[in-house]
């Protein structure tokens, strides 16, 4: 079997307003008990890619804490594991802090792994992709580079700002940005399989063209010189590329038809455990159509919401269409609609908070 190393690419311009003020997109809490990065890491693990490097762009503290030694994602702790690849040198330099420079800085990781192929995927595009199938197709095609895309018919409202591919047969002829002016596009899922040798060449090449060129730029620049194959992925894919998309995609999961596409017993989503007790529903609890993580204590009304670990909802409080992150407390009688509450905040004095289609945001640790 070919040897494969995985790279989770956290170099992107995606941010979620307040939620990413102090943490990277990768460790933003998602669906009550996950971090955004858990999905791509679980895909790697489930695809038997057991050596994974995480290309960290910024704010690494919460990510270090979340990932630990990588045991939770079922990577073999001796023959594989998760390596955190951080580019200290350019951490504070926007133009130079990109994936190519991170790879240059951490090139030893790629060299030592001695893999045949490298599979590269972002964290903010949520899929249940089996990379083994992509690698298989890549190997059979004889291509040096394979790009994964999905044909979508709502490109005017999702994946705006992502790249799309122009194809000739199965070959990529052009890579352009989706400006949202058409519905049907072959959207790049920013997931690539590249022969290790070719990746090393690309890195060297990119440095020669422009110091500001990242991997995307380089691939776009090279697609008429190199043979880049396109691989169509037809499974679940959502792009969480903004605060609004974070809220919208989260809420979408409350629909069982959506969540059952992702949570399958054959494709576990791994995360680290926090040893929180079961959630306690008290006498006045009225919970409907919601995702609830463990450790919560609920005595109020909750509808169409996502509650993370150790959240407290007081008596007669009303929580509708909200996302409440770990450890936050909603006081008795408070009324919240369309609100995202970051970790360890307390809703005490301001007892009515109502957002609109763009949800209100309460900062981590704030008392409101």
């Amino acid at each position: 079997m070919a040897k494969v190393v995985g790279l989770v690419n956290l170099h992107s311009d995606v941010s979620y307003k307040g939620l990413t003020e102090r943490r990277p997109v990768a460790s933003v809490s998602f669906l009550g008990r996950y971090g955004i990065i858990d999905f791509v890491l679980s895909n790697m693990s489930n695809s038997n890619v057991d050596t994974v490097g995480v290309l960290i762009k910024e704010k690494p503290r919460s990510l270090f804490k979340h990932l630990g030694n990588g045991n939770s994602w079922n990577f073999n702790s001796k023959s594989g594991g998760v390596s955190l690849l951080y580019n200290e040198k350019y951490a504070n330099n926007t133009m130079y802090n990109h994936d190519i420079n991170n790879l240059v800085e951490n090139i030893a990781f790629i060299e030592k792994a001695k893999a045949d192929y490298v599979v590269i995927a972002p964290a903010h595009i949520i899929t249940t992709m089996n990379y083994a199938e992509v690698i298989d197709a890549h190997a059979r095609s004889g291509a040096e580079i394979t790009m994964v895309y999905q044909r979508i018919n709502n490109a005017h409202e999702s994946f705006v700002g992502s790249d799309y591919l122009r194809l000739k047969g199965k070959q990529v002829t052009e890579i352009k940005q989706n400006k949202g002016n058409r519905k049907e596009r072959n959207i790049s899922l920013e997931t690539y399989v590249i022969n290790t040798k070719v990746l090393l060449q690309l890195i060297g090449y990119a440095k020669k063209i422009s110091s500001f060129f990242d991997l995307k730029d380089t691939l776009a620049y090279l697609c008429d010189e190199r043979k880049i194959m396109a691989y169509e992925y037809k499974g679940f894919a959502r792009c969480i590329d903004s605060y609004d998309a974070y809220y919208k995609v989260s809420m979408e999961f409350l629909d069982m038809d959506v969540s059952t596409q992702v949570f399958k017993s054959t494709w576990p989503i791994f995360t680290n455990t926090n040893d929180t007790p079961p959630t306690k529903y008290l006498k006045n609890a009225q919970v409907k159509k919601s995702f609830v993580a463990n450790g919560a204590i609920i005595d109020g009304e909750v509808e169409g919401s996502i509650l993370s670990r150790n959240v407290t909802i007081g008596k007669n409080a009303v929580v509708k269409n909200c996302i409440i992150l770990n450890g936050s407390k909603v006081s008795p009688g408070a009324h919240l609609e369309n609100v995202i509450i970051d970790k360890d905040a307390r809703i005490e004095k301001k007892t009515e908070l109502i957002g609109d289609s763009e949800p209100l945001y309460v900062k981590e640790g704030d008392v409101v």
Binding site: S259, F270, P278, T279, Y281, K283, S290, F291, V292, A293
Partner: protein, 375 residues
């Protein structure tokens, strides 16, 4: 390197009165509280008390328990200098194959393991009790008194005292007599089966006890009386808090119901940060459906609730169908309650399917146990 204290958890018991629940697993591995197994409590207490060498002595149906405890990583006991060691009854070089004949014999057969760590003190625990306790406080008391043996006791009511081993003590806390299930108790201090021995003394008495063919090799019946006879220093250490030995189906049900009452066992660390660690099940968060109601209940990750749940404890991956009713019941992992079924005052064992519209224990007088392992 020698350790100050090593813990030994007696986890070999069958727990016959738990009926079908222990048909295939040892009592310490029985599920409790929505996501735990009973042995999580002593193991977490050890981890939280800073005890990092723990022997787990197994006998009855030891495979699942052994796999579950593993190297102790669930409780953070898998560091370079920490260890959870499964010590099953086994074939040994000098005597051949033997079972553990009693609590004291089980420890005696593992003197080699203890010698290897040469601890100053040994903490003996039971693998089937539910409680939160800081053993470091008990050790401090043991040291302060210069005791040879400290026994943790719980002050029970006079009515209950006849069900326990009772420690009769002097005013200074020294034990002068031990009575097993006395008809007319002189005191209400019940032994919790938690002992701290000074290892030197324990070792001596275990060897002496092993020579006695008439001994039942039991701490309560043999070791403690022998030490009292010899005028050793035995102290009672009074524990205040929730403690339960769940011996029967009824008491296991009751202990689960106790969790719905805030005053009992504090799983939410409201008073003190003392987590109970357990296995993570990789389940998605619980999903409460559009037509569901959940009141006065514990529900854990992986559950999908579409019906009515009241006064109940739901373990991971339980599914409650639409229109189903679950009242005052404990549903163990993977239980599937189909549409319109009703369950009252029951313990439903792992993986049981309750068919659509079926009604279980509507009378709700006694606790009903529903299990695929029932005879």
């Amino acid at each position: 390197m020698s350790k100050e204290i090593v813990a030994m958890i007696l986890a070999g018991g069958r727990g016959t009165r738990l009926e079908a629940l222990t048909a295939k697993v040892a009592k310490p591995a029985v599920y409790f509280g929505g996501k735990y197994r009973i042995i999580d409590f002593p193991l977490s207490n050890c981890a939280n008390s800073g005890i990092d060498i723990v022997g787990v002595l197994t006998q009855y149906e030891s495979v699942l328990l052994g796999t579950y405890v593993g190297a102790g990583s669930k409780w953070g006991l898998d560091g370079n200098k920490s260890l959870a060691a499964i010590l099953p009854a086994r074939e040994r070089g000098e005597v051949g194959a033997t079972w553990y004949a009693g609590t004291a014999d089980a420890i005696y057969q593992n003197i080699g393991f203890l010698d290897q760590h040469s601890p100053e003190y040994v903490l003996i625990l039971s693998g089937d009790h539910i409680y939160k306790m800081d053993y470091a406080d008990m050790l401090a008391a043991h040291k302060a008194k210069g005791a040879d043996l400290t026994v943790a006791v719980l002050n029970v009511s006079m009515k209950e005292a006849s069900r326990f081993g009772i420690m009769n003590t002097n005013k200074d806390g020294t034990i002068y007599e031990f009575e097993e299930k006395p008809e007319k108790p002189k005191s209400t201090l019940a032994s919790m089966g938690i002992y701290i021995f000074t290892y030197k003394e324990l070792r001596k008495y275990l060897i002496e006890d092993a020579k006695d063919e008439n001994s039942k090799h039991d701490f309560g019946m043999n070791i403690i009386p022998m030490m009292l006879n010899d005028g050793k220093k035995l102290y009672a250490y009074e524990f205040a808090g929730y403690w339960k030995d769940v011996g029967t189906v009824e008491s296991l049900w009751q202990a689960n119901m106790d969790l719905l009452d805030d005053k009992e066992l504090d799983l939410y660390n409201i008073k003190r940060d003392w987590k109970i660690y357990t296995e993570d099940t990789l389940s998605k968060p619980q999903i409460i459906g559009e037509e569901a109601t959940v009141k006065n209940s514990l529900v854990t990750q992986g559950c999908i609730v579409n019906g009515d749940v009241k006064g109940s404890v739901l373990f991971n991956n339980v599914y409650i169908g639409e229109g189903a009713k679950v009242v005052d019941s404990v549903l163990m992992p993977g239980v599937l309650v189909e549409e319109g079924a009703e369950i009252y005052k029951s313990i439903v064992d792992e993986g049981v399917v309750i068919k659509a519209k079926k009604v279980v224990n509507k009378e709700a007088k006694e606790v009903e146990l529903v299990s695929d392992n029932a005879k």
